[in-house]
């Protein structure tokens, strides 16, 4: 009975984190992006500096009409947002926050996380195809092409850490982490983060949803709550990617007073990375299709392979 | 767990895949049916591996190999299908008969006319 209660409690906790952190990232994005562009951003909703803007947005989305295009494949069209969102919710289960503070410690945790995140692609593809809109289809195809090419450096960089730690379990990887890994695994960390950004289709890798070319890519036809779910998936994706980078490359809960404040360190590092995601979005222009593929195949893959070789050599030598 | 459970599921999957390969005309659908058959084989391999408690884990390792080969097969297969589609504007297998021998002509009129 107690185990059932405990599992339920953990799941509720993960769900709460899942709902709160993306909102936090979204609000940070509103404000940080605005100030980087010398604007103020939302200032009215909720009174103090527009803190409730995203809640107001959510209410607005909920009130909007739920439109399904006449020529669309209704079932697939309606299912796509859920397919895009659920993987990130499931992934959070395996991410450790503090020493022993993880919803579910899996033996092949890293593998589980990467495998489930790969399923999220299907959401964009389904949405793109089922909308019966040529811009959606173009966006879906672009998503697929981009995700296929960035999956490889993403996995290779993750494999490097797993090799260094000698395990696939996420808490064990954090446990084995040493401060000097920051330098040793730096190329891998950069590759992982950049490839992850590209998988999330965040600017500057937002060619699949490039609004000046193909409106909003695969999500063009979506309205109301379904559209909000896609947006939530994007921000949940940022949280998951930043948390994963923290756990794999930045040493998770390591830091002063790790025994008591470990969870705080993880959250802090995650939020700093989320800020970097926003920062990159504001600073760089969108990459063209050929630049995107060149970065993946001529930039990230060789670096990831070199990192893998370096890790192998160091592990064997020490 | 009875060993028959996974084996029956695998046998059914394999037969369904075989049916798909025989019936489907679209090349990509045929590829999907082949994937079904490969999965049936994988399920068998894993089931026997667990049943035999193999020290070398040969069943599971072979499953990994098969999955890898399947990925390569789909990559190549799709490249071929796309190339055919680009040249012929179709991916229907039974329309791609250019290399077929002419059906035998009992009277010999057809060949004489040419």
């Amino acid at each position: 009975m107690t185990t059932v209660l405990e599992v339920a409690l953990r799941i509720v906790l993960v769900l709460g984190v899942f709902l709160v952190l993306p909102l936090l990232v979204g609000q940070t994005e509103h404000k940080a992006m605005a100030h980087m562009q010398s604007r103020l951003g939302p200032m009215y909703a909720g009174g103090f500096h527009g803190w409730a803007q995203l809640i107001a947005d959510g209410v607005k989305f909920a009130q909007k009409e739920d439109i399904v295009p006449a020529g669309a494949d209704r079932a697939v069209f309606k299912l796509a947002p859920a397919v895009a969102l659920l993987p990130y919710l499931i992934v959070l289960v395996a991410i450790p926050v503090g020493p022993g503070l993880v919803a579910q410690d899996l033996d092949a945790g890293l593998f589980f996380v990467l495998a489930v995140m790969a399923v999220g692609v299907l959401g964009a593809l389904m949405a793109g195809w089922a909308s019966a809109n040529k811009f959606s289809l173009l966006g879906g195809l672009r998503s697929a092409a981009q995700l296929m090419s960035y999956e490889l450096p993403f996995l290779l960089a993750a494999a490097s850490v797993a090799m260094a730690a000698g395990t696939l379990s996420l808490p064990a990887i954090v446990g084995a982490w040493q401060p000097w890994w920051l330098i040793w695994q730096l190329p891998g960390a950069v590759v992982f983060f950049v490839a992850g950004l590209a998988e999330l289709q965040r600017p500057p890798f937002d060619m699949p949803v490039a609004d000046s070319e193909i409106i909003f890519g695969a999500f063009t036809e979506y309205t109301g709550l379904r559209f909000a779910l896609f947006l939530l998936a994007e921000y949940a994706g940022i949280v998951v990617l930043c948390a994963l980078t923290t756990v794999l490359f930045l040493g998770g809960w390591h830091g002063p007073f790790a025994d008591q404040l470990g969870w705080l360190w993880t959250l802090l590092k995650t939020m700093v990375l989320a800020f970097v995601v926003i920062w990159l979005r504001v600073s760089y222009p969108r990459l063209r299709a050929d630049q995107l593929q060149r970065l993946a195949w001529q930039g990230l893959v060789p670096v990831a392979l070199a990192q893998l070789a370096l890790t192998g050599v160091v592990v064997v030598v020490t | 767990m009875p060993l028959l459970m996974p084996l029956l599921v695998a046998a059914l999957l394999f037969s369904i895949g075989a049916y798909g390969v025989l019936v489907r005309r679209n090349a990509i659908l045929v590829l999907m049916s082949v994937e079904l058959m490969l999965n049936a084989v994988n399920l068998n391999l894993v089931a026997f591996d667990v049943w035999l408690r193999d020290a070398l884990l040969s069943g599971q390792v072979f499953t990994l190999f098969v999955i890898t080969i399947a990925a390569a097969e789909v990559g190549l297969g799709l490249a071929i299908v796309l190339l055919v589609f680009r040249n012929r504007e179709t991916s229907q297998l039974d329309l791609l008969t250019e290399l077929r021998e002419e059906p035998s002509d009992p009277a010999g009129v057809g060949t004489a006319a040419r």
């Binding site: 299907l122 089922a130 697929a144 696939l168 | 060993l3 079904l36 884990l57 789909v74 490249a79």
Partner: protein, 181 residues
């Protein structure tokens, strides 16, 4: 029946049902999506058989890569929304195929029941058989040579796919011949 067995039966039914839909549906993209369901439930079967590592590889490679590639191919070959009439062969071939597949299922199942009825998989006790550690050591101790050969095969497939899909590879000599004139 234990919980694991009930779950396995349910997953098996889902797998077989979605596989049937893959080969019978007349909507191209739906077939690919049903394939996702089928492959996912097979991954669940692996989990229940305590082959955890294989299960996640299945999800990663099949659902994350193979199906996405298939969907990509379907979209590039202009899969329409709604039913297509020309996906299946004629009635005669369908009947023969059903007969063949049914016969195959019958023979295989009879043989399996004859050979293995009553045998049980012992899932209790040692749970590390499918863990990543044991799979890794098996792969890199006992099966290193096949693994390396496989990597060579993958390389060949990679080169082959690139050669197939690049338009300028086969054309170059002709262009060089006709170039100077």
């Amino acid at each position: 029946m234990s919980v694991v067995e009930v779950l396995f039966v349910l997953l098996g039914i889902v797998a077989v049902g979605s596989a049937l839909l893959v080969v019978t549906t007349n909507q191209l993209v739906h077939a690919a999506l049903w394939l996702v369901v089928c492959l996912g439930s097979v991954a669940g079967c692996y989990l229940l058989l305590s082959a955890e590592f294989v299960a996640w590889v299945q999800v990663l490679i099949y659902v994350g890569a193979v199906v996405v590639l298939l969907l990509f191919g379907l979209m590039l070959t202009r899969a329409p929304i709604g039913a297509s009439t020309d996906l299946d062969a004629g009635l005669g071939q369908r009947a023969v195929a059903a007969l063949t597949a049914g016969g195959l299922a019958g023979i295989v199942i009879t043989a399996l029941v004859d050979a293995f009825s009553g045998e049980r998989i012992d899932l209790g006790g040692d749970v590390s058989t499918g863990s990543s550690a044991s799979a890794g050591s098996a792969l890199f101790r006992g099966w290193v040579l096949p693994f390396e050969v496989l990597s060579l095969l993958l390389l060949a497939a990679l080169v082959g796919a690139i050669v197939l899909s690049r338009r300028d590879v086969g054309v170059e000599p002709e262009a060089a011949d006709g170039g100077p004139t």
